[in-house]
Amino acid sequence: MTSIFVESPGLLTTVQDLGRPGFGHIGVSPSGAADPVSLRLGNRLVGNAENAAGIEMTLLGGTFAFPEDAVVAVTGSDFGPTLDTADLRNGKTIGVRSGQVLRCGSTRSSARCYLCVRGGISVPLFLGSASTHLLSGLGGFEGRALRKGDVLQIGQASATFEKKAIAPRVTNALLPRNVLRVTPGPQADWFPETVQRLFYSNSYRIGEQSNRMGLRLEGPPLLLPEERPMITEGISLGAIQVPSGGLPIILFVDQQTTGGYPKIANVISADLHRVGQLRPRDEVRFEQVTFEKARALLIKQEDLLASPEAIIG
């Protein structure tokens, strides 16, 4: 088996695949890549199944040495990747020769970039998934973020393979946007019209305390006219909950599975990958769409990603 040696891990680097759905009833959150679109595209560039495990880096990337030849791709945000001394481009297949070192630096665009390797990162699966859930220390590589000196195993891959690149029309469709589209949350009607207007007409800043569990938003507080008892219920991915202080939180991939705060809105499926690219201090706005529109946008996005022209030779 071939391997990758972690010379430096970067700020917060974890093994992720497309997550671990199906175990919410025992309190297990889905986890998985914060920007699953970038992971899927990276896997296609190296000839993997879209769900293969890759390496997710956050804000500051890592340095990885390859003792054997490998085929890799870097996708997502631009972390200024280099191979030895040569600059690399995001979004294309790269052949790595044994002894070479791939280095990612500080982000030049958004929050996360992915390193995908032909064969995928091989770790013991927990409930069918390679994804890391940091809070519980389960899944991924020893249930934790990567550290200097870790050695990751690369899985088996079939022999034949062609170099590819992400088509410009896909890259353009995925460019960062500061407007997140949302549908109304289950307690949207708890918030009077004046408070709803605050939420939809102002920008919110992503707080420093944000992570894969949730993104804290700073801006006009969304206060209920009176305290209202709320019974704990299930939380959907991308729910925007409003604790009693009024500052909303977007619940994300490592989220708690249930919670007891009202939810004013929910980020639509087609925009969840954009949430994974938000950095602390980024500004976002929210635009309400109907469930029909949300579904149409998801179908359009999936059609684009599934089209044979999404990845070009």
């Binding site: 309190g27 991308g238 729910a239 249930t258």
Partner: protein
């Protein structure tokens, strides 16, 4: 109350049996979970049970809310006929107070009772596992006796040790992992609530019955699983 179906996101639907804790709603939550395990719906991705509701995550490319609601209405109409597994009974050895239960004294004084009385009340009843949520294996237990009902801490702790036993309003629960937490911590168990290397990863299942049994710090050390 009639069952309500409420879209929570473009890929999830909330099924509400009630808006408060009740034995009837709890039975319906258990029965719907059981039925969805016995007869899974292809395209349903995840289930999030709670006190009186179940959130259903589905594949939004396959279903719209009306499709999944129509399927679930059939399931809901059959809940009275679902046979539920016999609940298991558990005893949870618990070291109360001191470093294990930093909030015990405050809770007792808020209610004008001694810490020993608070321990007796907490360990005097069998609690129902209403559901598992928050983090892997966190059992929401109820109902906490009236004399101990206390609101959450104004300022949640940054970390609460694994095994901590907390109370919040009419609930009590056991933290399976060291996580942030706003419940008032009155004790700690040496048992592991969630172990990926165990056949039944989560010690408790929905519907089980749990009693807390007071132990000494020496017994805590002897029983410690981690």
């Amino acid at each position: 109350m009639n069952t309500e179906f409420c879209p929570a996101s473009d890929q999830s639907l909330l099924v509400r049996f009630d808006r408060k804790m009740s034995p009837e709603a709890h039975r319906q939550v258990r029965a719907l979970l059981r039925l969805l395990v016995l007869e899974p719906i292809a395209g349903v991705r995840n289930l999030h049970p709670a006190y009186c509701s179940v959130l259903i995550d589905f594949d939004a490319l396959k279903f719209v809310h009306a499709d999944i609601e129509a399927l679930l209405r059939h399931y809901v109409s059959r809940l009275d006929d679902v046979r539920l597994p016999e609940p298991q009974e558990f005893e949870i050895p618990t070291c109360y107070g001191g470093e294990y239960g930093p909030d015990l004294n405050d809770v007792a004084s808020l209610h004008g009772i001694s810490p020993d009385q608070a321990i007796r009340v907490h360990s005097s009843v069998a609690y129902t596992v209403y559901f598992l949520g928050f983090v892997p294996g966190f059992a929401y237990l109820g109902d906490l006796p009236e004399t101990l009902r206390t609101p959450r801490l104004a300022l949640p702790r940054r970390t609460t040790p694994a095994g901590s036993i907390g109370i919040a309003d009419n609930q009590t629960g056991i933290y399976p992992f060291a996580t942030p937490g706003g419940w008032r911590v009155i004790g700690r168990t040496p048992l592991a609530m969630f172990r990926p290397d165990r056949a039944n990863m989560s010690l408790h299942n929905v519907g089980d019955r749990v009693r807390f049994v007071p132990i000494s710090p020496a017994e805590f050390s002897a029983l410690r699983e981690v």
